[in-house]
């Protein structure tokens, strides 16, 4: 044996030597190929001024693309946050199921938003939905060229936008960057549903619903607001998606929860609420910290350009402020109302603040951002108690966080609207008074809520009729991990209780 090894070793060393020499001689006379990541033309243009302009334009677009991609990555990272929060706040026996749902939902969203969602949302069309370039981003588009009204976004550019995705022709980045940024938002809406319906939904039914949500429902209401549709064009404002993303996810979740009913054992016959503690508060806390970080992509990234830095800095500070005051608001509310500072409430409070500031972050002052977050933190505690009271079972508080505070944030934009900040930071001033803006926001909340809730209810019912939405009681008691996936999350640990 040892001899064999010695022989092989010798052979290898000799081969190495030989190769070394051979390569020396056959030294490649062509230069190693270049990774010309910059698509700057290799041939020098004739006019140096024009060339300089183009080179600087590339720099501008490069910077804005870096910003958009990095913030999109942060939003992508929120998938990890949702997976941890939702699995942490559920029981160990359903942990694999929730992780799998949250994992696969983004994969599925990627496909459905690519195939159709993007087109419905951003394709030129009616006030109701996109109609051009529907499939696979197949329409004409010369991004990063800018629309006529937005040339100041890249003052070095000399081309003008021509294409079918004109609702998003205000950001000076390439089409694929726009796509990816919007995709991670679409994925977020789908993830929200996962937590509310957890611990009892069939894996396959959830998958089908998520696919449809991202392919049809989310893009249509999204079109109304961000895609050139009737809400956005009538002064409805939602900077980063309190309504477009969060309350849409929340309405879809509410419909699902109603169709599913509560988990076994959650509500006693006597009307008593039996809390079902989450199995892993380390997961939950880490998850919320991930989401807090991810929101620094969600809101500041929604500028979709780095600009001169002042808008993104303002938005980021507003985001952080609301997260902080939301956490403190929930801490205080929980301490006063429930006697002890319950961690899961503080975590929900943080998320509530973040959801609430998402719409108004570019329209209100920092002080008002702090107030909006603080109120959100209190509201979320009350909402959790309220949903328990009306026997709507939402294991992770998704409705209280995303639906209730998605609505609150959208309305808060009206209540605290500041036309100067709307001009400087958002670049989307409406010139309305606060009362007027509030009314516009209210209408938008109403239409989006009605459409999404009813639509989702229909889809859930159809799925229920076709294949069923809920696992059997036996499977629910044993846990979905074994029933749906044949796995256990923590096979080396002794679990407690039969729950």
């Amino acid at each position: 044996m040892k001899r064999l090894i010695t022989l092989i070793t010798l052979g290898w060393v000799m081969a190495t030597g030989a190769l070394c020499l051979a390569a020396e001689e056959a030294k490649p006379d062509i230069a190693p190929a270049a990774t010309a990541a910059a698509a700057t033309a290799a041939a020098a243009p004739v006019d140096p001024a024009k060339a300089m302009l183009e080179n600087t334009s590339n720099l501008r677009v490069g910077l804005d693309t870096v910003w958009v991609l990095v913030t999109a990555m942060l939003v992508f990272w929120m998938n990890a946050g949702f997976a941890l929060v939702e699995s942490g706040l559920c029981r160990a026996k359903n942990c694999v199921n929730i992780l799998t749902k949250n994992f696969i939902v983004f994969a599925a969203s990627t496909i459905s938003f690519w195939v159709l969602g993007w087109g419905l949302m951003f394709g030129d069309g009616s006030g109701f939905m996109g109609q051009s370039g529907l499939w696979f981003l197949g329409g004409a588009d010369n991004s990063p060229a800018l629309g006529k009204d937005y040339l100041s976004m890249n003052p070095f550019s000399t081309t003008e936008y021509a294409g079918v995705y004109s609702a998003i022709n205000w950001t000076p980045v390439p089409l694929w960057a726009k796509f990816f940024f919007q995709l991670v938002f679409a994925g977020t809406a789908a993830t929200i549903v996962s937590g509310a319906v957890a611990e009892r939904i069939k894996f396959s039914s959830f998958l089908v619903f998520s696919f449809l949500l991202v392919a049809f429902m989310y893009p249509i209401t999204g079109h109304w607001i961000w895609g050139g549709g009737f809400l956005g064009s009538h002064n409805f404002r939602d900077f980063a998606g309190s309504t477009v993303v969060h309350s849409v996810g929340g309405w879809a979740a509410l419909a699902g929860v109603l169709v599913l009913g509560p988990r076994l054992g959650k509500f006693g016959k006597d009307g008593k609420v039996h809390p079902i503690p989450g199995h892993n508060m380390t997961s939950a806390a880490l998850g919320v910290l991930i989401l807090w970080l991810g929101w620094f992509g969600f809101n500041p990234g929604s500028t979709m350009a780095a600009g001169n830095g002042s808008a993104i800095a303002h938005i980021l500070v507003n985001t952080n402020m609301a997260a902080a005051t939301g956490s403190l608001g929930a801490l205080i509310a929980a301490w006063l109302l429930l006697k002890k500072p319950d961690l899961s409430m503080i975590l929900n409070g943080c998320l509530a603040g973040l959801v609430a500031i998402t719409a108004p972050c570019a329209f209100v002052s920092i002080t008002n951002g702090a107030i909006i977050g603080f109120i959100a933190g209190i509201v979320v505690v009350l909402a959790v108690l309220f949903f328990d009271k009306i026997r709507v079972d939402d294991p992770v508080g998704a409705l209280s966080v995303h639906l209730v505070n998605g609505v609150w944030g959208t309305l808060a934009l009206g209540l605290f609207y500041d036309n100067q900040i709307a001009t400087d930071v958002a670049g989307l001033a409406t010139k309305l008074s606060r009362a007027e803006q509030f009314m516009v926001q209210l209408k938008g909340v109403f239409w989006v809520g009605l459409y999404t809730f009813v639509g989702a209810l229909i889809i859930w019912y159809l799925i229920k009729l076709a294949v069923g939405v809920r696992v059997t009681p036996e499977e629910e008691i044993e846990g979905l991990d074994i029933g749906e996936h044949g796995n256990e999350a923590y096979p080396n640990f002794q679990s407690v209780g039969g729950k």
């Binding site: 074994i482 044949g486 796995n487 256990e488 679990s495 209780g497 039969g498 729950k499």
Partner: protein, 112 residues
Amino acid sequence: MKKIEAIIKPFKLEEVKDALGDIGIEGMTVSEVKGFGRQKGHTEIYRGSEYTVDFLPKIKIETVVGDSQLEAAVAAIIKAAKTGKIGDGKVFIYTVDEAIRIRTEEKGNSAV
């Protein structure tokens, strides 16, 4: 004195505890065990290979009672724990030579 040892389905614990409480038995010790019997385990899959988990989670309740309480206690347990489906479990009864309450050093029936 007798020790009653009942192996039951985990989700029946609350009901059995309440049933014992109803007849005045307020002391018991509970542990998590794995049971093997007629009720078969389930198959899990991991990375393409199936394997059987033979042992099912069960709860073991141990309560030491005076001879006079024995019958009532056993009846209460059986009533509360029965689902009629396989795997409901067993009750075993043993004789206890002595029982002592550590706090007071009381012995016998008054210790349980």
